[in-house]
Structure formats: structure tokens, C-alpha cells
Amino acid sequence: MTPAEITPSVDMSLLTLFLQAHWVVKSVMIGLICASIWVWAIAIDKWLLFRRTRAASDQFEQAFWSGQSLEELYRTLSARPADSMAALFVAAMREWKRTFEGGARSFAGLQQRIDRVMDVSISREVERLESKLLVLATVGSAGPFIGLFGTVWGIMTSFQSIAASKNTSLAVVAPGIAEALFATAMGLIAAIPATIFYNKFTSEVNKQAARLEGFADEFSAILSRQIDENG
């Protein structure tokens, strides 16, 4: 900050706050804005994803418990790429059919295989649901610190301006402090929604995972009954 900028009346709009800042503070602010944009993009993405997943699961459960033939359901679902619960069902049914169509003599390992396949698809689904949530967690926890770093740097420069002008009046100190605090504000703006979204989506993922586990157990029980009847 040059002494020319230290005038008794300081323009305090957002743009001048940004433009007057040191380049380190500027880069911190830009990084935090990018992080905030990313966080909100992930949040929108995830919100749509969860809404879609919930709707698809509801739809699938309705179809599954409607008394429709499993073979028929499998045929309709395997035609198009399915997700979450439908994918679980398709994976289990594929394993079942492969065993029966292969003309296997023993069904001893079938139950375990189906369980394992369903576990794999559950973990794959959960991974898909909670992908990028770590970004939210990172921004939520590191954002304030990054903003604080910008603040510390800005206050350092404002102290340097005090030393340069040998004057501790508010007019000398205030602009530097204001732009420095602006960096912390940016960090908080990025971090607070990130933390909120992270908590919300983590609980959503847990809910979805529990729902998939429940379905997998139920389907496994049904298939186990079938195996016992066949065997």
C-alpha cells in the first residue's frame, strides 16, 4: 500500500477493498471465491442427486413389492443403466441367473456370492453418493484458516503502512484492516455453507446406505428362501 492510498476518506466498496489488497491477500480471496463456487456447485449437484436417488428408490421399492415377477422386473431394469437400489437388484439377479443358467449342481456358494455382489454394489453406490463430500469438509474446515491467513497478511501490510507513515491514526490503519478482515469474511462465506452442506449430505448418505442395506438384507432373505426351495 502506498502512502498515496492512505487518505482520510477511504472508499470502502467491495471492489476497492479487493483491488487495494496485497497480491497474497488477493490470491487468498480469489481462491476462497473459487472454493465457494465449487462448494455450491457440489451442493447443487448433490442435492439433485439425492433427490433423484430417493425418487428412484421409492419407485423401485413400489415396483418390487407390487407382486410383479422378479424375472420381468429384472428384464425391464437391466435394459437401461440403473442406479442405487435397482443396480443392487440387477447385480444380485444377474448373479442368480448366471448360476441357474450355467446349470450349476450346487447352490452352496450362491448365497454368499449374492451377498458379496450386493455388498460391492452397495459400497459402489455409497461411494457415488458421497463422492466430493470431502471437498465440502475440507473447505468447511480450512476456509476460515485460509481467510485468517489473508487477514494476518493484510494486517502485516497495514502495520508496514503505519511504520511508513509514522502515524497510527484510524485513517492509516483502517483500510488495511478492513481489506484484511474482508479476507476472513470470504473464508467464512465459503466455509459456513460448506460445513452445513457437508453435515446435511453426510446424514443423507447414511440414510441412503441404511436403506440399501435393508433392501439387500430383505432381498438376500428372499433369494435364500428360493435357494432352499430349489435345493
Binding site: S9, V10, M12, W40, R52, S169, A171, A174
Partner: protein, 328 residues
């Protein structure tokens, strides 16, 4: 889900928020008025505890003190104009310069001059005044021109009936001839000056009120409890004793003959008992020094000290130190 679309949505959301921020968050330009620093005195804890008791709301003074006026000898004022101005008002003081005596000092003649009869008078007066004042003729002429302006103006007025005013001094409007002070073009109306002019007392006077201890301190802290003698009272006691003390200038090692004497005093300032030596040093010279100190205390016996602080000086220890005479 297409991440690029959610990214676009997020970016547009941020752009919107910052756009609103740019428009609305136009914080008023921060104008900092320069503040004056406040002078601060640092006082020690003991100074603070030694504050005398007082109230901020204490009455200022019960009655005005009698002001003794002393009029010194009349000194010639620094400016002649002032003197003349004084004279025009204060006719009681004898005019020190002869040329002014010829001018009638009373305001009545001036009024009379406004009439046509005394018109010839001022002119010859000036005429004869001028040759007489040789030493400071120029200054006096100027002064006379100033002081007698009303008169002079009265003249042209009369003349104006016959011919236009010959002097540029004249103004279209005539000041009333009763005006005693000459109107100075570069002076402003000042009531304090008028008051000073109306002051009949001698300008050399020196007003003074008698020294008196104020019984209601208007300064000091409410919690102040100090009954200690203040420095001025110690000085007063020291000065009173000092008058009567003849230190032993000729004694060997006179510098070290420090005598400390304890004095008990009555409320009226007289000695309540014999002064006592605090420490008895050795040597013949010390005895002599102690004797001289005792003598001094007895000789100046009734001391005048503030009665209000009697508790503080009822029992005083005085140090007779030849190096700095005394220390209370």
C-alpha cells in the same frame, strides 16, 4: 448429474451475490476527523493519596475579598494617543503637557463650538499650539488632529454653508460633537475599551487581595485525607525560623552540623514546650550548632501556620542543615 451445469449454476449464483454486494455494500467513505490528543499527567500513588480533600461543587467564595489598591507614581504612558484619550475623559489628572491645557477640556465648549460663535476660537488655538510644541511637534499635531477632530469637523460644517469642505477628512455625516474619543478608522467598537475609558481609577494602580487560606477547596479529591503540611506551609515555617537562625559559618565541618529538632506547638503558633534535639551528635561544635538552632526556634516563637491543619504541625520536626539552611 452434469457437473458443468451445477458449476454454472453455482458461478452464476456467486456472480449474483457479489453483484448485489457491489451495489448495496457501498460503505460510506470513511471520513476520520482528526482527534485531538488529551494531555495526561502521571501522578504517583502517593501523590494521589495525598490529595487534599475537596469538592468540585464547592462554593467559589463567600464574599469578595477586599481589594487593596496601590497607586504608583504617574508614569508617562507609552503612547501619546492613550494619554490624550485619558485626558479627554479624566479631566481630574493634571495635563502634563502645556499645549493641551489651552484647549478647553470640558465637553460643553465642544458643543458650543458647534454653534457659529466659537468658531474662530479653535483655529487660533491650534495656531498657537503648534509653535509651542517643538520637541514632538509632529506627533502632537497628529494627536491634536485626532482628539480635536470633533472640533475640526465642526468648523467645516459651518464653512460648508458657504463653500464645499476643503479637507478630505470630512465625511458627509457629522459625528455628534459630544463624542469624546476620536473615531479611529481602523478601530472597532469595543465595549471593553469604553469600560477602560470610563474607569476613573489610576491606570498605574496595582490591585491585590490579602493572602488568605481558602477554607473550601474547590479542587482536590473527595477521598483525599491528607493532613500533611503541604510544601508551601513547610516553606512558610522554614522561612519563619530562618529569620532568626544564625548558622555557624565559621565552625569546622560546618557542613555536617545537621541538627534535627522536634518542636511542639500550640494552636496559636507558640511553643508548647522546650524544643528537643532528635539526635545528639558528638563534638563541641555540634553543641553550639544545636544551641543556635534552639535559640532560633525560641526567638521566632509565635509561628503563623494554618489553624485548619493544626494536627499536622502540632508536632513538627525541623532539620537545620547549613547546606540548604533548613528542611522541614
Amino acid at each position: 448429474m452434469r457437473p458443468d451445469r451445477s458449476f454454472a449454476a453455482s458461478a452464476s449464483l456467486h456472480a449474483m451475490v457479489f453483484g448485489i454486494g457491489l451495489v448495496t455494500f457501498d460503505a460510506r467513505p470513511m471520513v476520520v476527523a482528526p482527534t485531538e490528543s488529551m494531555p495526561v499527567d502521571i501522578m504517583s500513588m502517593s501523590e494521589f493519596s495525598q490529595l487534599t480533600r475537596g469538592q468540585k461543587t464547592a462554593p467559589k467564595a463567600e464574599k469578595p475579598k477586599h481589594v487593596a489598591e496601590k497607586t504608583g507614581e504617574v508614569k508617562p504612558p507609552d503612547t501619546e494617543a492613550k494619554k490624550i484619550a485619558d485626558k479627554t475623559i479624566d479631566s481630574a489628572t493634571p495635563p502634563p503637557l502645556p499645549p493641551k491645557v489651552e484647549r478647553p477640556p470640558e465637553p460643553e465648549p465642544k458643543k458650543a463650538e458647534a454653534k457659529p460663535e466659537p468658531k474662530p476660537e479653535p483655529a487660533p488655538k491650534k495656531a498657537e499650539a503648534k509653535p509651542e510644541i517643538k520637541p514632538d511637534a509632529e506627533a502632537l499635531e497628529k494627536l491634536i488632529a485626532k482628539t480635536e477632530k470633533p472640533e475640526k469637523k465642526a468648523e467645516p460644517e459651518k464653512k460648508a454653508e458657504v463653500k464645499p469642505p476643503p479637507k478630505p477628512v470630512d465625511r458627509p455625516k457629522q459625528p455628534p460633537p459630544v463624542a469624546q474619543t476620536p473615531p479611529d478608522p481602523n478601530s472597532k467598537f469595543d465595549t471593553s475599551k469604553i469600560a477602560a475609558l470610563l474607569d476613573k481609577r489610576a491606570p498605574q494602580r496595582a490591585a491585590a487581595s490579602g493572602a488568605e487560606v481558602s477554607h473550601t477547596a474547590s479542587l482536590g479529591s473527595v477521598t483525599g485525607q491528607a493532613q500533611q503540611l503541604s510544601q508551601t506551609e513547610i516553606d512558610a515555617l522554614r522561612a519563619q525560623i530562618q529569620r532568626c537562625w544564625n548558622p555557624q559559618v565559621g565552625a569546622a565541618e560546618a557542613r555536617d552540623l545537621i541538627v534535627r529538632v522536634r518542636i511542639a506547638l500550640n494552636q496559636d503558633g507558640s511553643l508548647a514546650g522546650q524544643p528537643m534535639l532528635v539526635d545528639h551528635g558528638g563534638g563541641a561544635y555540634f553543641q553550639v550548632a544545636a544551641e543556635s538552632a534552639m535559640r532560633a526556634i525560641r526567638r521566632c516563637a509565635p509561628y503563623t501556620l494554618p489553624v485548619a491543619k493544626y494536627e499536622a504541625w502540632r508536632d513538627v520536626e525541623v532539620t537545620f542543615d547549613p547546606r540548604d539552611m533548613f528542611r522541614g
